[in-house]
Symmetry: C2
Subunit: 713 residues, 2 copies
């Protein structure tokens, strides 16, 4: 049986030219688009940070979509091995395009997003190059970085080991300095020390940044990064002393060769220790040249990238589910269909799924979250940029806050995005599970983000350590450090803080404008501050220990980071008009405020117990929250399609039969399925295996009816 589409003719492709029975998707979406309260391109330009950038995105997407080598038509039907070889070809081709079109690095990243394939060189771009940039000294950068940027060497980042993930200090691989030959000897002392999960290592990389314990003069200085050649740039053979392979299929990343690696007394030159922060002299003396803290920049960089890219992942899933929910119809419910021009009361046209309030709520909550993730991504980028410029001046004053914020937001935004993508896939009903939905692999490929670069539960501890410390500092007196995101904690150091009550008396107070968002923000502040203050007090009075409080710590981090996201949403919308690039124009401001309210309300509904427990919110107000949430969903309903259109994903990017811009869902599904290998001539007229396995059963001896029936009764 052929494992892939070759030159086989499809057996079937809608021979009778049948049409869908209900209103056509294109007509439905056209009507939906007329309902919008704003112009889609205004919102798109705003989200992209300007018309020119938005246009540039579209141009790059168009280049890829029209390139035959990058055609995605068969992707959903390929085996891992075929996909992997295809990914090799495509990354090679994309690099050619980069050169021929003169794309900047930033534009190349846009192209990678549109291609939407985690290929074998992803980690080369996202980890290997940033590490060279951040951890090399000038001489090392000048030697290696140009080769890496030009793909003359292909790198990976080898930190995780078979038995060691989040705890970098527990890594076992050693790099022992040998003064006689001025070399480091890399060695894997145990099975659990095998490098594992390293993207691009399995069959691709020529070089690796290896994190190994630096041993010199009998002393263990802990894990350090080394630049390690592993395959020849002449013939790609693995060097002696290095054992490398692919770790096999995963529930994600079919086109990445995540690999393992063991060293057997493998030597590299002394100069291959990355030297920005420390050196080992010829005689083996270890010296630290700069504070280790300055190296946290790389860590924060990766996390801030994770935070700021979450938006596009959730936006994409929401786009598919929302468009398909407008096209898809199930059951006839007059009340739900009352505004639907395609469902006159005289006919039995089914109700569009998007017109059921519970489906609307699911869709719009995720749309609101995607917008919130966008604003938080921008804020995280700003924080990171400011950190980098400080670190360049050896100033670590905003490191603690940025580190804590990036850790907690990494946890919250990836949890939120993963849950939201899964819900959007599920909101597509059965077809969401088909690969042609474009959401199956999108969800799978997003799933590692909740675990890698710091498991989400662990990350939260870093955030809460900072919150508890800051609260303690504030309780003792005016703090001096940068505390933009945590300034709200100061109120909780005041004596009568827990007697505060929420000033909201009707659902309309929570629905639409700047004032509503301010009310919501106040409730998030009180809830988070109450949790931090209680925890800090219990720890200070030895009423509890850190270890025993882990469940509570997780809740506390979540409460704080949800607040930060509401803050970011609110700050973006309240930017004064003199920020022309960033401030929203009047046309889109109204819908953005509603989204901000829905975003906050949706998290409030999910955690309503904590708001009640803090004493700030009354039982009657909890009911207002639920009512306001339903109301704002209804208000946003007419804008649903426009809000996802504004994300501006191309059909090429989405590669989804359900989420197409033109709404031709069913026609596309039938057309795509004809390319399925199991339907090709090679399997015609009967499937390979029929003679061996089915025929003997079907044509085997027949029972006498009574015998079998009796056995069963």
């Amino acid at each position: 049986m052929s494992s892939d589409v070759e030159n086989n003719k499809p057996l079937w492709n809608n021979p009778n030219g049948l049409k869908p029975s209900g209103p056509l998707g294109r007509d439905v979406l056209a009507v939906e688009r007329q309902k919008a309260s704003f112009q889609v391109d205004v919102m798109t330009d705003y989200l992209h940070g300007g018309k020119e950038i938005a246009e540039r995105h579209r141009q790059i997407a168009a280049v890829l979509a029209s390139d035959e080598k990058l055609c995605k038509d068969d992707w959903h039907f390929q085996s891992r091995e075929t996909k992997f070889k295809g990914a090799m070809m495509r990354i090679n081709h994309l690099i050619t395009l980069k050169k021929s079109h003169g794309w900047s690095e930033k534009e190349f990243w846009i192209a990678m997003e549109v291609l939407d394939e985690f290929g074998p060189t992803c980690l080369h771009s996202t980890m290997f190059i940033p590490t060279l940039e951040g951890q090399c000294d000038d001489e090392q950068r000048a030697e290696w970085l140009p080769l890496a940027l030009n793909f003359n060497i292909i790198g990976c980042y080898a930190q995780t080991e078979l038995g060691h993930g989040s705890n970098v200090q527990g890594l076992e691989t050693t790099a022992t300095y040998l003064p006689e030959s001025q070399q480091f000897e890399l060695h894997s002392p145990s099975l659990t020390s095998s490098k594992w999960w390293i993207g691009g290592l399995g069959r691709t990389a020529t070089h690796a940044i290896v994190m190994a314990r630096l041993l010199t003069k009998g002393k263990d200085f802990g894990p350090h990064p080394f630049f390690v050649p592993i395959r020849s740039t002449e013939n790609h053979h693995t060097f002696k002393g290095v054992t490398v392979g692919d770790i096999g299929p995963k529930g994600c990343y079919q086109t990445v060769d995540n690999g393992f690696m063991l060293f057997d007394h493998y030597r590299i030159p002394r100069k291959n220790l990355l030297r920005r922060f420390c050196q080992v002299s010829a005689d083996g003396t270890y010296t630290r040249s700069l504070s280790e803290k300055l190296s946290y920049g790389t860590l924060v960089f990766i996390r801030s990238v994770i935070v700021s890219t979450a938006y596009r992942s959730l936006a994409r899933a929401a786009t598919v589910a929302t468009r398909y929910s407008a096209v898809r119809r199930q059951f006839v419910t007059r009340e739900a269909s009352q505004d639907d021009p395609f469902a006159p009361v005289t006919e039995h046209v089914e109700t569009a799924v998007i017109d059921y309030p519970i489906q609307q709520s699911r869709l719009l909550v995720q749309i609101a979250r995607a917008y919130a993730l966008h604003f938080t991504g921008l804020a995280m980028d700003d924080m990171y940029t400011s950190l980098v410029s400080n670190l360049a001046n050896n100033d670590v004053s905003n490191l603690a806050e940025t580190h804590a914020t990036s850790a907690g937001l990494k946890s919250l935004t990836t949890d939120m995005t993963m849950a939201g993508m899964e819900d959007m896939k599920r909101a597509c009903g059965g077809h969401g599970l088909s690969k042609v939905s474009g959401l199956v692999e999108a969800c799978q490929d997003y799933s590692p983000q909740v675990t890698y670069e710091g498991e989400n539960y662990l990350m939260n501890q870093q955030t809460v350590r900072y919150l508890v410390k800051t609260y303690g500092d504030m309780a003792r007196g005016p703090a001096t450090a940068n505390t933009r995101t945590v300034e709200y904690l100061r109120a909780a150091t005041k004596p009568k803080y827990l007697q505060n009550r929420w000033k909201v008396s009707k659902a309309e107070d929570l629905c639409k404008d700047s004032q509503a968002l301010a009310h919501l923000l106040a409730a998030f502040e009180q809830r988070a501050a109450a949790l931090v203050a209680a925890l800090a007090q219990d720890l200070a009075t030895k009423n509890s220990t850190w270890n025993k409080s882990l469940v509570r710590i997780h809740r506390t981090a979540k409460a704080h980071c949800q607040l930060v996201m509401v803050q970011n949403f609110s700050r973006a919308l309240n930017l004064p008009a003199e920020h022309p690039a960033a401030a929203p124009t009047p046309m889109i401001k109204d819908v953005l405020f509603k989204l901000g309210c829905l975003f906050a309300l949706s998290m409030m509904v999910e955690n309503i117990g904590e708001f009640l427990e803090s004493g700030f919110m009354s039982i009657a107000q909890a009911q207002l929250v639920r009512t306001a949430s339903d109301d704002v969903v209804a208000q946003l309903r007419p804008d649903a399609i426009a809000l996802v259109d504004a994300f501006d994903f191309s059909d090429y990017h989405l590669n989804s039969a359900l989420g197409r811009y033109d709404g031709n869902v069913y026609e596309t599904m039938v057309q795509w399925v004809s390319r399925n290998p199991l339907n090709l001539e090679v399997n015609s007229p009967v499937i390979d295996g029929y003679e061996q396995f089915y025929k003997p059963m079907i044509q085997g001896p027949r029972p006498t009816g009574t015998e079998t029936l009796q056995a069963r009764l």
Copy 2:
């Protein structure tokens, strides 16, 4: 590139015989097993309903594990096409084993569970045969059922269409009666009428039960089931007038050929309408012979199977995650390791992940849920059995309650199981994402259950309709219908109901015994009753409409069904000792009560807002709930491994490197990975594609350093 493991020699398999660095998994698990408060086999026998049944399960598992044809070693590394052909072979072989071992149908199902593969004939067993049993008249059953049971015909169940899932009444396929030839003519009038997603239809089935609108004498009688030959039993060719194919890869069921089908004026004999409930006479007169309600039995059957099999799916995921969490170590935390004999304070042995309270809580909550699902599965089976015996006497008195309960429990148990399995996969950290965890495909293959046989949000409406109606009946006077699960609603018809307060004053009241479980039950009753009563009143007073209440309906169904699960747990443990098969022995009663409390507490913590909003629980009591939850987790910790061992999964069944009984996690991972196709000799020394795609980049012109660096800065 070969897509599968053939006779290629592995490139690598731990040549230096390395060992893991920490305490060995087998030693760790041995110590864990000594901690248990009960004998594992006593619990296993209890769960299986007796020692003999438990033993029979083990014998069948042993037959499969020792059979070379059923070896699972390469499963994690195969392409869809290879897997699919393998599945054809295996089902054929399993049927041979059934005959040679003389297995009953029930024993054959045990074997299918152990094989753990959704094969191309799954729907033959789970839908086709039950439909023949439930919907045929005696003559039809005598003719078709023996052939189906003997696999002389292979069937599928063709209901869902491209544009129609949950709404059976919206199906478009027609079956028009032609009196002149005494035939039905099946026809697909539109693209959306294509049958779609039909398991086993793509390339396997010879026959289908087709749900099509019955048209006779110009009248449309709505969807009815027909017995339809689609492929020749002589040569497996598809019959003219039927177009069939496979719908392509999915995010689940790699080894099922879910198919599509279109009819072009395809004729079948009149006698092929399933006739238990209605007939069409030779002249085309339609008569209904029995109430349509009696046919709901099949619907309830499928849902009750879904409810009662959820337990094993969650139990399996909990087994893998719990064992691996005992073996896996991350970070050194003295306080967490204080009871760990492998981590003396003098050494830097990392802390076992299971010793962190938050990980314990995650694991034990899912273990408790698996036990709860077991008890609810038994209760659902009982309800279904009682329904069937009533329906056999044309008695529909318990139909409404059973239908409503099966619908709501289908929704709750599948949501609970899916979320729990995903959390257990995630609790394995990065390795959970590797297919060798055994959880990747387990989660994927479970995922359709939340959607099929009634999307979970829809199901909940059926439950709440029944609750609202029953509440109304009760408010009007003493109800006469069977209302075992909903008797608690009666209290809410009393005037001062909302003034009830919870009688719990310390965390210990909620932790361990029959009394604690009774307290928890009371809170679940009050919360559910308050939601039902408020909804019923709002609907009755036209304060709201059904459509506008959909979000609330979803919450109400969940509250009711969570209560039913707590009821079932409590009833099982409080069975008097004169039920020797079902009542727990004193040895296991204590741990079971703790599990019951944890189960209830875990759902309470997740929904604490609703308990507070009903006014029954105070803010101080909410704090007790959180404390009690942490306490009972700590009490259950020593039993964690024994509790999952008691589920008694064989290693063959789990096919997981992480969840092995012997704890040899790392050795197994390394050994399995050597079978990965990308590591075989065919790809040695360099990967296929290197010459074309990597070499031109790596050996392409090198940049002058300054140029590229400048471009980047």
